[in-house]
């Protein structure tokens, strides 16, 4: 172990040697994670939604008035989300924990309270804290009961302190709203479409609407295209319609004083005059005639020109607001778009790249929920209004009308809307005509890593089926933001990504103050400018979130000043600013969803973070936010990164350097961070491991034994890896040191002693040889927990299910089938249940629909047995039984089965280098080779796994692991660092081993030494969830499908093994006709039919119904499916006739 890995030494070394000391700057990473955490994006986004957006939405939909009574109104004064509480109105203690929700299939949600002001009779009433519905609460968000709790308190709530949170519990299942990747809104993107047409497009997005506007070139002329207009509008006409009628002014706005632009733009100007559009009125009429007629019938017809004006003002480029018909900013914007298009025609390098990460925005739970809430809230209000009108319409009322009572009746709409959306993952928004499926996923609790990996996952809106390489490729701009390794293989490859370790996703920052700051720093207002100033060579156009603010003539100074203000902490650190020298633009961005990461600021070739800072950090005198506040570290988004010179290491700093990386290994994500020495591996191997790490069995959470999950895999003796990485420590996959010096463990694997050699021939194709004694001693032993649920229902007619005690036969004995039942009718905890035995002896009423007489005992309706029977090949133990009730007061019985499994032939294992293999043979210890120390391996791995895979990292892991074992300490395999091979070899030599890790082994069978030195040492192995016990399947006879009478399909239905088309082709090729007949008919769905030889139709029982005779009936065997086909054809009026011949 080199000293730089050890935190304690940092400060000492630093004092004497300032240059190398900032090597310890990686301490900023744990500090960052402490503040931000791995799922901070989700929490930040949700908190922002609950604390800010909720109010904004309500403010935008503040007032409800009645069409009937003009005096009536209802006004929302405020909104807030309460703390999570039970929905049960009778509950004494309303607080509940997330774990209770998991166990009882509840939704972890809190009431939404509003303050209202409304008219009651002649009074104006104000009511505060009126609940209007319930919203699911994100775990560990500001509104979660777990936030800010100590470990002891969390333990009392049966919650794991290492659980990252960031997900929801809906109906008892943990649901994650995955991060959605989208093209950024409100930004101009210049692209070339399939036909080679260059177009600038902007997706405008406001609270009210989403629309896309294009400016494109067609036959050298420039047009404006928008969905609300039936055909492309010449852009000059559009500009004229917006009030810029003089051609000279238009030309100035688009071209400035440059001749080249004017030449390209002239045809467009000419077209407008050719179309005889000169004035604003003419232009509006021109557009008005082409507006899409999607008006609702009720709306009064308006003049086409008014309609055009309306559309231009609020639909086209909707994100630019037009105040009092001041179209000037919008005209400027269109002019800039046109200019971009013209510039791109002559220089295609100016095309934008839509895969560039800077052009992407990530949509998180908060944004999605906010869209959903706005929709639900609007629906809630319109429903409320309808109801109010209905009541107010009545001429005479017995009671004074109080909306309050009405308000409470509609709560289910919002509650149900949230629950439905999160439970199904279908986001249906009427406003935007948006219908997205698969937004939420069940949080995978296969291993701790899989849960973490899910929280950092990003899905793309791209269709998975499309075979495009662009969006899937690794973008250089992903550096440090998105993990280059962690992506699935196959169809979603490159479309599903993962965040890197230090990534942060921004939330919206209010624009007003930024706008003011920009003007203070010398931006000239757009409204005061003409084209010549806009495009003068020294002028840079300043954009704020895609909207033109104005122009600066000193972009360098402006940007530097702006950054100075940000570094001083006067504005949000997440506001980015960068210069685009190609377009002569300065972009300021404060919108949410940008990806950014912290970097150390460098000026005058010196990083601002010094030894003292790091020392104070490790002493706990500074936290990450202090670094930010003091301007030592700043967040850069992808666009601003482009404007910076970032040095990877301190030694690389040159005069131009502006920033320094905090730590190179942070370009990997949490899942790829598990891999030791990933920089020595072939890159796809790291990707494979990222997929497999999520299937590894291990410890899941501290509350794993209190959980009742559908399927839970646990390792009996998990170990921390001998060779770990800094990432492992940080994400607490393993032991980690926090400020409290506490130890955390949640590993998923074991350190196996591996001999790399061939043995027995049962190790070909990556199969592994396992040592039986190791298995006896607990290696790879795992537990599988499976949940079974039964709902004890009550039916509408008053009948109900019941759980009955075990029945007895004539002798008074309990038959085998019911032997495991307790007197309460449910299997006893700790008991072993065999296949075919009943574990919940449920009985249901025979009649659940019809009314039973008043006063009649529901028990007298009669019951039928609907027991839950244990299926599966191996017996299980009953681990837990839970009796509880759901929100709807239905009794719920949950039962957890447990199996303890030792590895067997065919179980899958993998190292951390994408090297998976199944167990090929289990060998007695005495047959295993043994070393000079008497050590025999746990696993023998075939050396053929190495040359083609090129997983050198695995070899180094073995070496480092062996050295660690000998020295009695853990080694590091951190990416781009880690324990050095040279040091490891030294340790081996010092301990009397060969430097390269190869040992002298003797055969356990012959007792003679092996004729080669064997690479021998510990490698961390993961047991993967794929076990033969869950997969073995064979059948000779068995069930058949009802319709076709063919054998069923699939293991769960004890199905047959299909002789498929290709196998059929083989048999045909061999001419094995009898075998073919046997396989396809006799062993499948042979059926004896009676065919009438005279009419060729099927008869029945030797009788032809058509010929009304039994004279010419011939029995024959055909597949039942063929018989079905004939009958189906007959039903369609097609007569299939069978013409029989002698054979």
């Amino acid at each position: 172990m080199t000293t730089k890995e050890r935190p304690g030494d940092a400060s000492l070394k630093g004092l004497t040697d300032p240059v190398s000391a900032v090597e310890d700057k990686w301490h900023l990473l744990p500090a960052f994670l402490q503040v931000k955490g791995l799922v901070k994006q989700h929490l930040d986004s949700y908190n922002y939604f609950v604390d800010q957006e909720l109010q904004q939405i309500v403010r935008a939909n503040q007032r409800i008035s009645s069409d009937v009574d003009p005096n009536f109104y209802l006004k929302y004064l405020g909104i807030r989300l309460g703390m999570p509480e039970r929905s049960d109105p009778l509950a004494v203690d309303k607080s509940y924990t997330p774990h209770e929700c998991r166990l009882r299939d509840l939704t972890y949600s809190a009431n939404i309270y509003v303050d209202i002001e409304y008219v009651r009779g002649r009074q104006i009433v104000i009511r505060r804290g009126v609940p209007i519905g319930r919203m699911p609460v994100m775990l560990r968000s500001s509104h979660c009961v777990l936030t800010g709790r100590s470990e002891a308190e969390l333990a009392r709530m049966q919650e794991c302190p290492l659980d990252p949170g960031g997900y929801f519990i809906v109906n008892g299942t943990e649901k994650v709203i995955l991060i959605q990747e989208q093209l950024s809104k409100n930004r101009i993107i210049v692209e070339k479409d399939g036909k080679g047409i260059i177009q600038a497009s902007v997706t405008s997005s406001t609270h009210e609407r989403k629309s896309k506007t294009y400016v494109l070139v067609k036959h050298d002329k420039i047009y404006l295209r928008h969905n609300s207009v039936t055909e492309d509008i010449p852009v000059v006409i559009a500009l004229k319609a917006m009030g810029i009628t003089s051609d000279q002014e238009i030309a100035l706005l688009v071209c400035g004083t440059e001749k080249e632009f004017l030449e390209k733009f002239a045809p467009s100007l000419e077209e407008a005059s050719r179309l005889k559009v000169f004035t604003q009125k003419q232009a509006l009429e021109y557009i008005g005639g082409r507006v899409k007629q999607t008006r609702r019938f009720a709306a009064a017809r308006r003049l086409p020109s008014d309609e055009a004006l309306e559309i231009l003002a609020s639909v086209v480029l909707a994100h630019l607001s037009v105040e009092q018909l001041n179209f000037r900013p919008k005209c400027m914007y269109i002019a800039v778009m046109v200019r971009r298009v013209i510039a791109t025609i002559s220089d295609e390098r100016l095309l934008d790249d839509r895969d560039f990460v800077g052009n992407k925005r990530l949509e998180l739970a908060g944004q999605l929920l906010s869209l959903l809430f706005e929709d639900l809230f609007k629906k809630f209000n319109s429903d409320l209004k309808l109801n109010i009108d209905k009541v107010l319409k009545k001429p005479s009322r017995t009671q004074e009308f109080d909306v309050y009572t009405q308000l409470q009746m509609h709560g289910d709409h919002i509650t149900g809307g949230f629950v439905r959306a999160i439970a199904t993952g279908n986001w249906v928004l009427k406003r935007f005509k948006m219908e997205r499926a698969g937004i939420t996923h069940v949080l995978s609790r296969l291993s701790y890593i899989s849960a973490l990996g899910m929280m950092t996952r990003i899905t793309s809106q791209f269709e998975k089926t499309r075979k495009v390489s662009g969006p899937r490729a690794l973008q250089p701009s992903q550096w440090g933001m998105l993990c280059p390794s962690d992506t699935p293989e196959g169809e979603a490859c490159g479309l599903v990504k993962n965040l890197a370790l230090m990534t942060h996703i921004t939330t919206d920052v209010e624009e007003g103050s930024i706008r003011r700051l920009a003007f203070v720093l010398g931006v000239e207002d757009i409204n005061l400018l003409s084209g010549s100033e806009l495009y003068s060579p020294s002028a840079y156009i300043v954009f704020l979130n895609g909207e033109i603010l104005g122009v600066t003539r000193t972009p360098g100074r402006f940007v530097a000043n702006f950054r100075r203000v940000r570094r001083a902490g006067r504005i949000s650190p997440f506001i980015s600013i960068y210069t685009n020298t190609h377009h002569h633009n300065v972009h300021i961005a404060s919108d949410g969803g940008r990806i950014c990461r912290p970097l150390i600021i460098v000026d005058h070739r010196r990083p601002r973070v010094t030894v003292e800072h790091v020392k104070m950090l490790s002493e706990g005198k500074m936290v990450f936010d202090d670094f930010l506040q003091q301007g030592l570290v700043e967040y850069l988004d992808v666009n601003e990164e482009n404007d910076s010179n970032i040095a990877l290491y301190e030694k690389d700093i040159v005069p131009e350097t502006t920033h320094l990386e905090i730590e190179p290994f942070t370009i990997l994500g949490a899942v790829a961070g598990l891999i030791p020495y990933p920089h020595h591996n072939q890159s796809p191997r790291n990707t494979y491991q990222c997929a497999m790490g999520k299937q590894a069995i291990g410890a899941i959470a501290y509350n794993q034994l209190n959980r009742i999950d559908t399927l839970l895999y646990l390792l009996v003796y998990p170990q921390q890896p001998m060779v770990k990485t800094k990432t492992i420590e940080l994400i607490k996959y393993d032991k980690a040191r926090t400020l409290l010096l506490q130890r955390y463990y949640l590993p998923a694997g074991q350190n196996a002693t591996v001999a790399v050699m061939s043995y027995s021939g049962y190790d070909i194709e990556d199969a592994l040889v396992l040592n039986k004694s190791s298995l006896d001693r607990g290696f790879g032993r795992c537990q599988v927990m499976r949940k079974q649920t039964a709902l004890i229902r009550r039916y509408a007619n008053g009948t109900f299910d019941r759980v009955a005690d075990p029945p007895r036969d004539a002798n008074g004995d309990i038959p085998f089938k019911f032997q495991k039942l307790d007197a309460d009718g449910v299997a006893a905890v700790g008991d072993r249940v065999f296949p075919g035995q009943v574990y919940i002896n449920k009985q249901s009423p025979t009649n659940t629909n019809a009314d039973i007489g008043v006063g009649q005992n529901p028990l007298e309706t009669g019951f039928k047995a609907t027991p839950m029977t244990y299926k599966g090949l191996e017996p299980s133990y009953v681990d837990k039984v839970i009796f509880t009730n759901t929100e709807s007061e239905q009794a719920l019985v949950k039962l957890l089965f447990r199996q303890t499994r030792r590895p067997e032939l065919g179980d899958k294992f993998s190292s951390r280098h994408g090297q998976k293999g199944v167990c090929g043979i289990i060998v007695q210890q005495e047959d295993m080779p043994f070393s000079l120390q008497g050590i025999s391996p746990d696993i023998i791995m075939n050396p053929h796994g190495f040359p083609s895979r090129m997983t050198v990292g695995k070899m180094i892991e073995l070496l480092a692991g062996k050295a660690g074992v000998l020295k009695g300490e853990l080694q590091y395999g951190t990416a781009f660092g880690g324990s050095k091979v040279e040091d490891m070899s030294r340790i081996l030599i010092d301990n009397g081993f060969e430097y390269s890790g190869k040992d002298y082994l003797s055969s356990g069978i012959t007792g003679e030494p092996l004729s080669a030195y064997i690479f021998f040492g510990p490698i961390y192995y993961q047991k993967l969830k794929h076990m033969v016990m869950d997969k073995v399947h064979a059948r000779a006879r068995g069930p058949r499908a009802l319709l076709t009478r063919q054998p069923t399909e699939g293991r769960s239905r004890d199905g047959g093994l299909r002789l498929g088309e290709m196998e059929r082709d083989c048999l045909i090729g061999h001419g094995a006709s009898r075998l073919l007949l046997e396989r396809l008919m006799v062993s499948s769905d042979a059926f004896e039919v009676h065919v009438c030889e005279s009419c060729g139709l099927l008869g029945y029982g030797g009788w032809c119904q058509r010929c009304r005779s039994s004279a010419h009936m011939a029995p024959m065997k055909i597949p039942y499916a063929a018989k079905l086909l004939f009958q189906e054809l007959q039903s369609m009026n097609i007569v299939p006739r069978l013409i029989l011949e002698d054979y």
């Binding site: 133990y877 005495e926 030494p1009 080669a1012």
Partner: protein, 329 residues
């Protein structure tokens, strides 16, 4: 350096090609005991071949019976450890009992001649005498279930038969489970006789293995600073540097104790020693090591293993005799 030099890896040694001679064997064969204690022993087997040493090793690991917990009858277990895991852990606890005193159980009913019964009855409570400031580890009673908590329940004549050496676990500090106040484990544990081939818990040895005697041949003198470097390439004590007698008084490397050599082959890496040294093994000299798990002492195990080997030879011998008889008749 991937060299598979035949002079330091041997598995093509076939002395059996020569006629095996009993007289020669009795003259050369010897066993030197190097170190012996009840738990472990080291000895040299000289004058035989690898298969014989290996047979002993294999017998020790897999074929010498011991007693181990085989069946656990759990009456109550409210600890966090599941029944199967607890049973597995209990099974691995070595027991101090002479297995020759017991019969094989097989499918027979348990009797006092084939089964040992232990009771595990433990409940964790808060220590009423504990005060603030006392050591934290005393706060609870029975929060750690140790192997010493297994109580032997003599059955039938067992109390009498084992009155001299009562049956107990070898170690009394093996941690089996941890409890919290209110949790308890009550169960009855039945031990049976078994062999290591069936389950590692029956193996009487932690491990038994041998290695061949290293032979370090210095073909050419290694002197001066090279000699020191040469010595450093080996485990301390293997090579000594001595001053040669005579005129020049050269410092020279000499093999002091080859036994200590761990075959790191470090010397072969350095250019200056190339061709000057050969690392080899004596293929008829085995350094044997037995580490007992404690049921029987290491020397006992060695004798048992030889007895077992003789028995196996006799089985083969009788079978061979029968075969030759049949062939003759």
């Amino acid at each position: 350096m991937i060299v598979l030099e035949s002079d330091h890896v041997h598995n093509h040694y076939r002395p059996a090609l020569q006629e095996w001679d009993l007289a020669e064997f009795t003259k050369t064969f010897r066993i030197d005991i190097i170190r012996v204690s009840p738990m472990a022993m080291e000895f040299d087997v000289v004058g035989t071949d690898a298969p014989i040493a290996n047979a002993l090793r294999r017998i020790l690991i897999a074929e010498i019976p011991t007693m181990a917990i085989e069946n656990v009858f759990m009456t109550n277990n409210t600890s966090v450890i599941h029944d199967e895991v607890l049973a597995h852990r209990l099974g691995l606890i070595p027991l101090k009992v002479d297995p020759s005193q017991f019969q094989w159980k097989g499918d027979a009913d348990p009797t006092d001649l084939n089964t040992i019964v232990f009771k595990l009855n433990i409940r964790c409570e808060a220590n009423p005498e504990w005060k603030e400031g006392d050591p934290v580890e005393n706060r609870l009673i029975n929060d750690r279930v140790l192997s010493s908590d297994l109580q032997w329940e003599p059955q039938g004549g067992q109390a009498e038969r084992f009155s001299e050496s009562p049956i107990k676990t070898v170690h009394d500090n093996i941690l089996v489970a941890k409890l919290r106040p209110g949790q308890e484990i009550i169960g009855e544990l039945h031990c049976e006789k078994g062999i290591g081939r069936d389950h590692a818990k029956f193996s009487p040895v932690a491990t038994a293995f041998y290695r061949m005697m290293p032979v370090i041949a210095i073909k050419e003198d290694i002197t001066g600073a090279d000699a020191d470097k040469f010595a450093r390439c080996f485990t301390p004590g293997v090579i000594e540097v001595v001053k040669e007698k005579g005129k020049y008084r050269v410092r020279k490397a000499r093999v002091a104790d080859a036994r200590k050599c761990t075959m790191s082959r470090e010397a072969l890496r350095h250019k200056e020693f190339q061709g000057k040294v050969a690392l080899m093994h004596d293929p008829r000299h085995f350094l044997f090591s037995i580490e007992s798990t404690g049921a029987m002492t290491a020397p006992e195990l060695f004798l048992l293993s030889i007895k077992q080997l003789v028995q196996k030879c006799q089985v083969v011998k009788t079978a061979l005799d029968k075969l030759t008889d049949e062939a003759e008749s």
